[in-house]
Amino acid sequence: MPLRFEARAEASARMRYGSPLVAVLLTVAGGLVLFILLGRNPLHGFRVFFYDPVKDLYGVSELLLKATPLMLIATGLAVGFRANVWNIGAEGQFLMGAVAATGVALMFHDSTSMLVLPAMLVAGAIGGAAWAAIPAFLKTRCNTSEILVSLMLVYVAQFVVSWVVFGPWKDPQGFNFPQTVMFADSALLPVLIPGTRLTVAFLIAIAALVAGHFFMTRSYAGFQMQVTGQAEAAANYAGFSGPRTVWIGLVAGGALAGVAGMSEVAGPMGQLTDHASSGYGFAAIIVAFVGRLSALGIFFASLLMALLYMGGEQAQQHLNLPPAIGQVFQGMLLFFLLGADVFVNYRLRRSRAAP
């Protein structure tokens, strides 16, 4: 089978947007195979995984609820990824944002002020940004790999959360569970649609998407980030500051991840617990890639990933499968996307042996 790849003269715009769709189809196909291997009826599995979670309004609202942190984090990460700043520690920044917001909520537990929520939002953003500032500082000052540092700090952040909920902030009436008290009403995000858990954080996420889009496509600073990502030498030649790119890239991701963390503790959770995150920080990396680092792409990709989360939960309840199956699907999606991307720059040709 003498097939080989041949470079395209110019990147195919059609495949650029087509390959995520190809990846989705391949993931679904892979999922069907997986269900068969597990001895489950694939059509039933497909229905439980992809349809049941969103068959009613409540399901859709839950989908948007889960998509909200993904959208927030992925928007911030995309800013950095475009400049080849690889922040993969959003999970830790998410947790530190949650911790900071929780601190504010607990400090003003008895307050009914309208300002508690904005203060928590700011605290969340600062908490996440501060955590991301560590790899940024070390990268710009000591040339340290931001990949490894941001990732190591995920583990440290988990221990910080564990420490506060086991230690100083533990709910005294919580039967020794590792969790804080439930937040006061003034520290909870208003619900968007009555009868659901969807909060105004969803609107904040949409606003972040739009702002991120505007920044990357219209602003000179965003342009500089893109140049850095595509050709670092050209950015040096043009005089774009390398350290500034690193700082913007990491802090944008950290701040939005922190906001996402705040939106979780002040939203569906209503408190800080030892399990504050469901791996949103890592899943958002996949969202950013599958969404092509663009606003619209991230919007749809975060819905898709949220669906995989919910499908995983459904599979646990109705198919008796471990919830990690959601992660398997997420990983498959990214794998297939990266593979399908080859067709953006290459095409498959039957190779002709020289006569």
Binding site: A9, R218, A234, A238, A354
Partner: protein
């Protein structure tokens, strides 16, 4: 009877190519090329950049496979599948951009290309024998990154010779050598050929071909446009075959006298931040409005470091060592230096001078955003950027379907015209250009050189850093030489010649050390 066989065999070309074709997705690189090389013959293949010379050599050496045509090696049809196969046939190649490994020793580099498992110590001895025999001095134990460009070329040649090749391919071998080193290389090549090895000599330098080669084949746009005996031609007639018309002439007035200094190097000394780089030592130069000053030199002698320090990509500890338009600029970032009136054209076009995947509009923003007011309150004015890019495309004759095309879709010459245009249209007070016509076709090169001369006649100070001496003599009013991180005094081009600059390129200008001390005392 036996004599007849021998005679017939003698008449068989060592290499015989017939109707060779190579088709890439976007371009037909070779379109029916015929070429025959006799044993012991030095055969020139000449043509402009993009004529298809390199592709043809890669096919012969098995780096890439042809789309069509036939190849005969000593009368037998062959199909070189990869370089190892080509080498086993007896084909050796010295690459233009050397295929060496920086962090390995000379002997290890040679070992990687030899069949079998020669022991490194035994190999070192063979390298020394070979280098003595052909006058190619090189130490087999040294690491390649510590070698000069000329020494690296010797390593490549020795690596080939150790395999006793019957055909040696040399791809633009003299672009990295001083004129004197070129003469030495030619002696070596003549000796190799006299022993019966054929040589394919790729070049676009007509005088060299005339001096060295027995026969020549001319390529233009992937086709053969002529075969001839170089000794019977003139450079003019060869140029016509190569580019289809006469070599261009330049219009240049006299340099403007008495312009104020726009760039001054005041004892610039700085260690390179690259462990494999060159340290600069006490560089002194003054470039005034209305003149072009050239900096000659073999690549790797500090040009890259000097460029980065002038452009601002690399800061200098003592800010006063570089002065731009009268202001100490050694610690200013590139953007600040641009605001002083400096523009800059780097040697690499794709990836440094332009972002490959971005459009010409976005690439216009790269350096012209501030000076041409393409950004307002932090936001990009895309309409203004488009107008600027379109004007640049029109004024500098860039062949592109519009300003919206990606930079990487342009040919080397067209992209260089765009980058030159982008910098020149900002009407700089000082323009620094590195390798202005490297890899550019003759027509575009002429255009670019003329626009450098025109800019200087409008009162701009221009610095041209180039490895092509012919080019420097065409455009420069004064020429200095950089060698081993030190800079010679700049001499008026009219009172020096290629021979003298060539001697200087090996670091031997008069009072190289004493002169520096004198200048230090005077300052």
């Amino acid at each position: 009877m036996e004599d007849a066989v021998a005679a017939a065999r003698a008449g068989v070309p060592r290499l015989d190519l017939r109707r060779i074709r190579k088709v890439y997705p976007t371009v037909i690189a070779n379109d029916g090329i015929d070429l025959a090389v006799a044993p012991g013959e030095i055969h020139a293949v000449l043509g402009e950049n993009g004529a298809g010379k390199s592709t043809l050599m890669k096919i012969i050496y098995g780096v890439t496979q042809r789309t069509g045509g036939e190849m005969y090696w000593e009368g037998e049809p062959v199909e070189p599948e990869n370089p190892a196969h080509a080498r086993s046939l007896g084909i050796g190649m010295v690459f233009q951009h050397f295929a060496l490994f920086e962090t390995l020793t000379v002997a290890e580099n040679v070992a990687l290309a030899l069949p079998g498992h020669p022991g490194l110590r035994e190999l070192a001895r063979r390298i020394e024998t070979m280098s003595a025999r052909y006058g190619l001095p090189v130490d087999p134990r040294r690491l390649v990154h510590a070698l000069s460009v000329g020494e690296r070329q010797r390593v490549e040649i020795i690596r080939c010779l150790l395999q006793h090749p019957k055909l040696l391919i040399m791809d633009e071998p003299t672009s990295v050598l001083t004129p004197q080193a070129v003469a030495k290389l030619f002696e070596t090549l003549r000796r190799i050929a006299a022993e019966g090895c054929s040589i394919l000599y790729i070049s676009h330098k007509l005088d060299e071909i005339q001096e060295l080669c027995h026969a020549a084949t001319v390529l233009r746009a992937g086709r053969v446009t002529g075969t001839f005996t170089p000794s019977r031609e003139t450079p003019q007639s060869m140029a016509r075959m190569m580019i289809g018309k006469d070599l261009p002439a330049y219009e240049r007035g006299a340099a403007l006298a008495g312009g104020e200094p726009r760039l001054r190097l005041l004892g610039l000394s700085q260690a390179s931040d690259d462990p494999f780089g060159t340290n600069l030592e006490d560089l002194r130069l003054s470039v005034c409005a209305g003149e072009v000053v050239g900096i000659a030199g073999v690549s790797g002698n500090g040009q890259r470091e000097l460029l980065r320090m002038i452009s601002g990509e690399r800061m200098i500890e003592d800010a006063a060592q570089v002065e731009i338009c009268g202001i100490p600029a050694g610690r200013l970032a590139p953007g600040r230096r641009r605001r002083l009136g400096m523009c800059f054209v780097p040697e690499e076009r794709l990836g440094r001078g332009a972002v490959p995947q971005m459009s010409l509009i976005e690439n216009a923003l790269l350096t012209a955003a501030r000076t041409m007011r393409l950004v307002r309150r932090g936001l990009i004015d895309f309409a203004a950027a488009r107008r600027f890019a379109a004007a640049c495309v029109a004024r500098f004759g860039v062949k592109a379907s519009g300003p919206g095309v990606a930079a990487q879709s342009l040919s080397g010459g067209n992209l260089q015209k765009f980058i030159m245009g982008r910098e020149i249209m900002q009407e700089p007070k000082l323009l620094v250009v590195a390798q202005p016509t490297w890899g550019v076709d003759v027509g575009a090169a002429a255009f670019i050189r003329q626009s450098i001369i025109d800019l200087r006649s409008r009162g701009c100070a221009v610095v041209v850093i180039s490895e092509e001496l012919d080019e420097l003599f065409e455009v420069c009013d004064r020429i200095a030489v950089i060698a081993a991180g030190r800079l010679s005094p700049a001499k008026p081009a009219s009172s020096t010649d290629v021979e003298e600059i060539g001697v200087w390129m090996s670091g031997m200008w008069p009072d190289a050390a004493a002169g520096a001390a004198e200048m230090r005392n005077a300052a």
